[in-house]
């Protein structure tokens, strides 16, 4: 049993590794905040998410010990993100390719709920 915990203790981890990990994360945070003050257009989103992904990976590999852990745990973690990616991808396919259809004689307004369903029973005159 002691063998088990000692493998966990010595094969990986150690205060110096954790300190270095923390410093890396803090530097990356500084970079991402700094980058947000520069205008890269669409690039800002990409940069921010890219750095966030690096940070998340570092946390997973070192703080969460995935680097030294049984591979099955890494597979499970990746599966979570993979299926989230699938979810995201298909939703974006739909929203990105909607046609934004409008009637030819559109007056710029979508009909809103009115109180009276019967014809001729229109409420107060519409302010147009």
């Amino acid at each position: 049993m002691s063998q088990h915990s000692s493998t966990h203790e010595h094969a990986h981890g150690g205060t110096s590794l954790y300190v270095r990990t923390l410093i890396t994360l803090l530097i990356l945070t500084a970079i991402t905040v700094g980058a947000s003050y520069i205008d890269f257009g669409q690039g800002n989103v990409v940069i921010a998410l890219f750095i966030a992904t690096i940070k998340a990976t570092i946390v997973a590999l070192f703080f969460m010990h995935l680097r030294y852990d049984k591979p099955v745990n890494a597979v499970i973690a990746c599966a979570g993100f993979l299926f989230l990616g699938i979810f995201l991808m298909f939703c974006f396919i739909d929203f990105g390719s909607r046609d934004g259809l409008r009637p030819v004689n559109w007056n710029g307004k979508l009909p809103v709920e009115t109180a009276a369903p019967a014809p001729g029973a229109a409420p107060a005159p519409a302010q147009k």
Partner: protein
């Protein structure tokens, strides 16, 4: 098994359906014969030793690949048919649908509106651009083999070319509450003559207002765009025309200094030939409504303007009852099935509120 075909597209769908149907029958019979046949042929006998067949790679590849190819074929066939449904031809007539619990409103390009009843000319593509006022509904015409959800907050479309004269059933196919199963409409596919007549009379909606022309006129005031330039509360709309409030029976001064009594003749002239007389202080910007207003709609507007007068009972006379011009009453009207019947579920206009 399938409802009657009402459109060219229906034939396409039905061919696909029947092909899948017979394919399914064959495959089902294959499975059933195998399952029941094996159960009979290899029924239990004490002491019989069964062979130890763990797998047969060749066979398994065959029964994986053949269905796969079959599925690819079916997908593309279905896609081919669906493309016709998905893309409306450019020349299609556009009808707007506004669905709400639990009625259908149809609006034609010229502003004519009908409720729970729609007329389309035969053999001409018609495209429905639809939105909902409350929850999701679904425009389903079984005879045309089309349906599409109607989503609040945006527009969706569906189209078809009706080929069969007569009445077809329109039904709501997305659950929308208590009246879901009563949300029905009649789709009347007309000959060109019938359709022209329908457009001339503007459907049957006006008949509900026969005895209340002012309410009918108010509806036209909102629908035909009068309200963008003419207020009915006495205020002046910038870049618009005179308010209708209290205008009836007044002596208006024109920009050439003449004074004119606001009566039926004057109002009719203003609608048909708006540039003929311009009220002093206003710009000659009103477009003509010639050909855009049916006689009963004109009568309604006049009655409505009168009802906004300072003394609705006084002033020059205005129509008290809507009527069609005599020429619009030929024998053709009897051929229109939907037009002469009362519509179920549609409340009469007057007396509400």
């Amino acid at each position: 098994m399938l409802p009657p075909q009402g459109s060219a597209y229906a034939a396409e769908v039905d061919t696909m359906y029947m092909a899948l149907f017979w394919l399914s029958v064959v495959l089902f019979l294959g499975i059933a014969v195998a399952a029941i046949g094996f159960a009979w042929r290899y029924r239990y006998k004490p002491g019989r030793v069964t062979p130890h067949q763990t797998h047969n790679t060749m066979l398994e590849i065959v029964w994986t690949v053949i269905p796969l190819l079959l599925c690819v074929g079916i997908f593309f066939w279905g896609l081919h048919g669906w493309m016709e449904y998905a893309v409306a031809p450019g020349e299609a007539m556009e009808v707007q649908i506004v669905a709400k619990k639990w009625i259908w409103q149809f609006e034609y390009p010229d502003g004519t509106r009908t409720v729970n009843e729609i007329h389309v000319p035969v053999n001409k593509p018609v495209r429905f651009v639809m939105t909902s006022e409350d929850v999701i509904h679904d425009f389903f015409v079984p005879d045309m083999r089309v349906k599409h959800d109607i989503v609040p907050g945006r527009y969706t479309e569906v189209w078809f070319t009706p080929t069969v004269l007569g009445v077809h059933h329109v039904t709501c196919a997305e659950y929308c509450g208590k009246g879901h199963s009563d949300m029905q409409a009649k789709l009347s596919v007309d000959t060109d003559a019938q359709y022209a007549n329908f457009m001339e009379t503007g459907g049957t909606e006006w008949e509900d207002y026969k005895n209340n022309p002012a309410a009918w006129g108010k509806l036209q005031y909102e629908r035909k765009g009068c309200s963008t330039c003419h207020s009915i509360d006495g205020t002046r709309i910038t870049g618009g025309g005179p308010s209708w409030k209290g205008i009836w029976g007044k002596m208006e001064e024109m920009n050439d200094g003449k004074k004119v009594l606001v009566d039926q003749d004057y109002v009719t002239e203003s609608m048909m030939y708006p540039q003929a007389k311009i009220v002093k202080g206003f710009e000659p910007i009103m477009p003509t409504f010639q050909g855009l207003l049916r006689s009963h709609e004109q009568q309604g507007l006049i009655a409505f303007i009168k009802s906004l007068g300072n003394d609705p009972k006084g002033g020059p006379p205005a129509p008290t009852m809507l009527s069609l011009p005599p020429k619009a009453q030929p024998g053709q009207t009897q051929a229109q099935p939907g037009q002469t019947q009362a519509q179920p579920g549609q409340a009469p206009a007057q007396g509400q509120k």
